[in-house]
Each structure stands twice: as C-alpha cells, then as structure tokens.
C-alpha cells in the first residue's frame, strides 16, 4: 500500500473511531480491508482508496471502521475484575444504594457480549446481596455487526469453554446443536445499543459502575484523556470504573485513582466514598 493511502485510512480511522494506526500495522489494513473492497465490488484495495478520496459512501466508511476493530473477548475475561465486582463493589453498593435498590452498569465496549453477560450472571449468582433490585446493564459498541451477535447471545462450544465455569454453563445456557444460547432471564438484563466512545456521553445518563476494558489500548493519549474525562462525569461521586489489564489512568486522568490492592478497579479522586465500608468490603 502506498504511503498516501495508508495516511488516508489512518486519518479516517482516527476521526471515526479513535483507532490509532502505527506504520507497522500496514499489513492489518491489507488483510482486513481486502474483503471489504471485494464486498463493495472494487477491483482492488487501490481502487477503493481512490473512491474514498472523493465523496465516500458513509456505509463504506462504516464497514471499514468495523473491519478494523478487534473484537477479542471472553466470558469472565482475566477473572480478577469479576471477583472484585462480586467481592468489593457489589457488597459496597448493596449498602450505599440500599434505599434506591437499583443499580446501573455501563459496559462501554461490549464486543460480542461476553463481558456484560458475565456481569449479569454474577449479579444473578449474588442476588442475596441485592434481592429484588432493579438492575440495568447497558452494553455499547461501535460495531453494529458485533452488537447483533451480542444480542443473539449464542456462542460456540469453543467460546463457552474460555472462562465460563461448567456449572454456570449448565445453569444459564440452553444447548442448540453445537452452540449454546444464553437463557432469556440473563439476556433480558442487558440492553445493547450502538455508541461511539468519541461522542457526547451525557445522553446515556449516570452509572454506578462503568467497565471500559481493552479498548483504550487502541487509542492515543489525547483520545484516552478525553474519554476518561467524559466518563468521570457519567458516574456519581461514589461510582466505580474498571479498566483492562493493560490499561491505566496514571498520567492520563486526574479524575480517577486506582484502588489499592484491587487491580483494574478505579475510584474518583475527589469522590465521596464511605471509606470505612469500602475498605471493609475490599478486605473481604
């Protein structure tokens, strides 16, 4: 691919989704966009690049953006964050929201749904902490294709064996030939919608907990900063944020600070937490 064409895609992806493409990722453009060019009946990637320099069809741009996203995910990915959710965050919120008896969670780059569904299952498994509460899990992603897969909630044998304990598989899934479909009870707890993290988040409302895992790694510093500034405004003064294992707020966000001994869990620096209760749930 010519350098000018590489820059064309690089700028487009930065503007549309925040994805930062370094020069060594040129091969990724080739391998992922060649099928898009084929789908749109261009003779080659080069002819598609020429067409994009004119007035690009928004649907084509969307296809390009979606083709370049990485959707890698799994149930209970990394384990630890879901333990923290169950052992630290839920017990704390069970107290702090005991009058409202409601809990709102935002899963900010939900991919094919394993992450929000893992949260829903954890909430169901720990109902004794939040009996009869209203639980709303909002799961968003930039890709309509992946959202459709997430809503379907049907996973291959391979996917359900990564991270999902067998007891939870038999309890919450129904077998459908080679695949496993999540039961309605769990599916109904999660609302999926398309949302671009570069956009204004105010329309989404407030959340007690935000998960934004394994997506910031694809963005540059400036974009990460902007997203974390906006997210700090989406949680109340005693809310929580989870980031992925390779992500941090250090040097990026003034608003959030890591919770000690709770890897991946962040609280507001200027927040208003019942520290005693928080430390008590953190100590188990």
């Amino acid at each position: 691919m010519r350098i000018a064409d590489f820059d064309l895609y690089k700028d487009m992806l930065m503007k549309q989704s925040g994805l930062t493409l370094s020069a060594d990722k040129c091969y990724l453009l080739d391998s992922r966009l060649t099928p898009v060019a084929k789908k749109w009946d261009f003779a080659s990637l080069d002819t598609m690049s020429v067409a994009l320099r004119g007035m690009p069809d928004p649907a084509l741009v969307k296809d390009i953006v979606e083709a370049m996203t990485t959707n890698e995910t799994s149930f209970f990915r990394d384990g630890k964050p879901f333990e923290l959710f169950k052992e630290v965050v839920l017990p704390y919120i069970a107290k702090s929201r005991s009058t409202q008896r409601s809990l709102r969670i935002w899963c900010a780059a939900s991919s094919s749904g394993q992450e929000p569904y893992s949260l829903a299952i954890t909430a169901l498994e720990n109902q004794h902490l939040i009996p009869g509460w209203k639980i709303e899990i909002v799961a968003t992603d930039i890709s309509d294709d992946i959202l459709e897969i997430a809503r379907k909630a049907e996973y291959s044998q391979f996917e359900v064996q990564r991270g999902l304990p067998i007891q939870l598989l038999t309890k919450y899934f129904e077998q459908n030939n080679e695949n496993w479909k999540l039961k309605e009870e769990v599916r109904n707890m999660v609302k999926f919608q398309n949302f671009n993290l570069l956009n204004d988040m105010a329309t989404l409302g407030l959340f007690d907990i935000i998960l934004c895992r394994n997506v910031l790694i694809y963005f540059n510093e400036e974009t990460k900063k902007e997203i974390l500034i906006k997210m700090a405004k989406r949680i109340p003064s005693d809310g929580f944020l989870f980031l992925g294992g390779a992500e941090t707020v250090l040097g990026i966000s003034e608003d959030f600070t890591p919770m000690s001994d709770c890897r991946g869990l962040y609280v507001l620096r200027e927040g208003n937490y019942d520290m005693e209760a928080l430390e008590k749930s953190a100590a188990g």
């Binding site: 064996q161 598989l169 038999t170």
Partner: protein, 126 residues
C-alpha cells in the same frame, strides 16, 4: 510440582494433553483406560485427572465413581475431557463428582482456563 494423570484411550490425545499440562508446569502420567487409571491412583493419588468418557475395559464415569469411594479419592480435581457434549452427560458427570468438564476438541487455553477455575493455578497476568 503438581501431578496430573491423563486418562484417554487415544495415544494421540494423551500426547497432546501431556504436552499442554507439562507446559503449565505439571508433571504428568498417562493411563489408557479407567482400570489402569484406578490402579495408578492406588499407587500415587494425582492432584488432577483429565478424564475421557468412552474407553474400553472401564469407562471414565465408572472410574470416577470408584475413585470417589477410595480413601483419598475426594482429593484429585477431576476434569472430564470428552467428545460427549450434551447437557445430559455433563450433568451426570457433575453429579458423580467431576469438578469441571471439557468438550473436545480442546486447546491449551481451555485447559489452562479450567485449571484456574478449579483452583489448581493462578490466573496468568496479561
């Protein structure tokens, strides 16, 4: 070092499984049917057993039931590893005292994920 017994009538599967569990830092022995596995357990009780279902002489489920009746038989974590992939088989295995269940084909990631779940090892940091 923790010790894993791989029970499968296919030599190829045993070899693949052995390579994976040794890669995870376990020592490993093999048995080609339930009876041989039972004999092996009377010698040394493993920390974990990867267990096929359909085998000549003694099936995996028969072995599991006999194992759980042995003196130290509740010790090992038993993970079924079989092509039987229907709910009925899974439930029967769990009711007979299995700890986890892998539906073949498997890969190292699945075995590692299951070893973490039954508490044999820590989740690797990313």
């Amino acid at each position: 070092m923790k010790f894993c017994l791989v029970v499968d009538d296919s030599r190829v599967v045993r070899k693949v499984a052995r390579r994976i569990v040794e890669g995870l830092g376990f020592s490993c022995d093999e048995a080609e049917d339930g009876q041989k596995a039972y004999d092996a357990c009377q010698g040394t009780m493993p920390d974990v057993i990867l267990l096929d279902w359909n085998m000549p002489v003694m099936s995996g489920i028969e072995f599991l039931e006999k194992l759980r009746e042995m003196d130290n038989g509740s010790g090992p974590k038993v993970i079924f590893c079989t092509t039987e992939n229907d709910l009925g088989h899974i439930q029967r295995a769990m009711n007979s005292g299995a700890d986890e269940y892998i539906m073949k084909p498997f890969d190292s990631e699945i075995i590692e994920s299951k070893f973490v779940q039954v508490g044999l090892m820590e989740q690797a940091a990313e």
